[in-house]
């Protein structure tokens, strides 16, 4: 059964240097508070896994926490580049990072295979693209028809971290709105942490609600506003102005560092 613990303790206990960590949330419910706590705990050499690195991984890469990045779309949606992501890949700043990239369909299927405890997933895709020689996929023949398909390896992160609207006192969790790949990430990972906007006495059924029972989650931490500047449908709104402002903040290494010191690190030196 999930323990309800302060975020600081949950991150300290579940995320270690060198771990593969998936912080998921597709545009919606991105676990910023938990990612920032990882930075304040000074965790290093992480393999960061996320379909859309978004501002959160831009920040974690820029602070030097990533050894490796596994992803499918590294942009600031509707705005342009992720400048810390680009600086790391183009110039090796603050240090070089290894990358493994897929298509969205590939990543989604990799999580699905991980959640199902299967070694790989089968899909149509990748054929004819240059991705084939730069990532981990293998053609595979259908044993029934002979059709050539593509196999993508299962994702099995050490830790999955997601954000949801609500948990009850037993650590059962419910999220609603765009569900992304959060359930798959939690079920694929060895350990999991869910941050929530609030802990309630009883979960009330919601249209499209995704419920994860507390016994598949290791820790639940209350983190009100913990998905900002993304959002938690029904509770907070996406801060589109901040997504636009991030372009200028992140473009310059010094300005980025100063912003992180002031708004995230709270005096802690990573």
């Amino acid at each position: 059964m999930a323990e309800i613990v302060p975020l600081r303790d949950a991150v300290a206990g579940l995320v270690h240097d060198g771990d593969s960590v998936a912080l998921e949330g597709f545009t919606h419910l991105i676990p910023f508070a938990a990612g920032h706590e990882i930075l304040r705990r000074g965790r290093r050499d992480l393999e960061l896994i996320r379909m859309t690195p978004d501002l959160l991984y831009d920040q974690m890469i820029g602070m030097g926490a990533a050894r490796r990045l596994v992803f499918s779309y590294g942009g600031n949606p509707g705005v342009g580049s992720l400048h810390r992501f680009r600086d790391a890949i183009e110039n090796g700043w603050p240090h070089p990072i290894e990358i493994e990239e897929h298509s969205h369909a590939g990543m989604a299927n990799r999580y699905t295979a991980g959640a199902a405890d299967l070694p790989f997933a089968v899909m149509r895709g990748y054929a004819g693209t240059d991705l084939v020689e730069h990532t981990r996929v293998r053609p595979i023949a259908c044993p029934f028809t002979g059709e050539e398909l593509m196999a993508v390896p299962a994702l099995r992160p050490d830790v999955a971290i997601v954000h949801a609207q609500e948990a009850d006192h037993d650590g059962n969790v419910q999220l609603w709105g765009i569900p992304g790949v959060q359930k798959e990430a939690v079920l694929a990972a060895s350990r999991s942490l869910v941050t929530v906007e609030r802990v309630v006495d009883e979960l009330e059924p919601r249209p499209g609600g995704v419920v994860m029972p507390g016994w598949v989650i290791d820790a639940v931490s209350e983190a009100p506003g913990g998905s900002q500047p993304s959002y938690s449908l029904g509770i907070t709104r996406r801060d589109n102005d901040f997504y636009r402002e991030w372009d200028a903040i992140s473009r310059d290494r010094d300005r980025f560092g100063a912003w992180m010191d002031e708004h995230v690190m709270n005096g802690v030196r990573a």
């Binding site: 949606p77 369909a105 991705l131 569900p179």
Partner: protein
């Protein structure tokens, strides 16, 4: 009303392309603006599908991201990412796809991964996202891109998306469609006031030109005022 600029013409032409469509898959930016405009002026039944999992979204404003709250709140159905790709896109349930790209070649292959060498890139672009499977599965693929030699190149630095299903490329200068036999992109339409030479100069390969090149019917007052009203919301 002031005359339409080239970007507005591009958006209006892209919106007209969806007049008869049942469903369209769209990313952010001009494709999204065009699809919302089409729902406003031509085809109110058009089903908008965003890769965040929102099927039948009815945004009143142009969303900044593909996952803005308004898309989820107004959608007929909201599904997970694995469901979106495996149950909806993969089997070809979405009729038309609107895609953008940093580079496009004469066969409508697209690059959204990298400029320069993959291991030592000049510019690292965002990457594939949903494009490869979307382009492979939707019946009709329309590319919406700015027309310049930087974008329309002889050889892609990286093939992110194979262009086999592409049916049109709509730019700020005109419209290219694949030739029926060679499948090579061919200029079939220019926007009002744009010369064929101008389009050829903005293309990084020796652009094929159709025997008869149509001229875009200029945006009507209704289209243009709806577009401007939408953008100002």
């Amino acid at each position: 009303m002031s005359p339409a600029d080239s970007g507005e013409v591009q958006t209006v032409v892209a919106a007209r392309r969806l007049r008869e469509a049942r469903s369209v898959f769209i990313g952010v930016g001009r494709p999204s603006t065009a699809a919302i405009l089409c729902r406003m002026v031509h085809n109110p039944e058009l089903v908008l599908v965003y890769e965040s999992g929102t099927i039948g979204a009815k945004p009143h404003r142009i969303p900044l991201s593909i996952g803005d709250g308004e898309l989820a709140e107004t959608a007929d159905a909201v599904v997970s990412v694995p469901e979106m790709f495996n149950y909806w896109i993969g089997p070809g349930r979405i009729e038309v796809a609107f895609l953008g790209a940093a580079q496009i070649d004469r066969h409508a292959n697209l690059n959204s991964t990298v400029i320069g060498d993959y291991d030592n890139p000049k510019t690292r672009l965002p990457g594939a996202g949903g494009a490869p499977e979307i382009a492979a599965s939707c019946g009709e693929v329309v590319v919406v891109a700015p027309h310049s030699p930087r974008t329309f190149v002889e050889k892609l630095d990286f093939v992110t998306t194979v262009g086999h299903g592409s049916t049109a490329v709509i730019t700020d200068l005109g419209v290219l469609e694949p030739d029926a036999d060679s499948r090579e992109l061919t200029l079939v339409q220019t926007h009002e006031g744009v010369s064929i030479d101008q389009v050829k100069e903005a293309t990084g390969w020796d652009l094929a030109v159709a025997d008869e090149v149509a001229v875009t019917e200029p945006p009507t007052d209704g289209e243009l005022s709806a577009l401007r009203e939408l953008v100002s919301r």
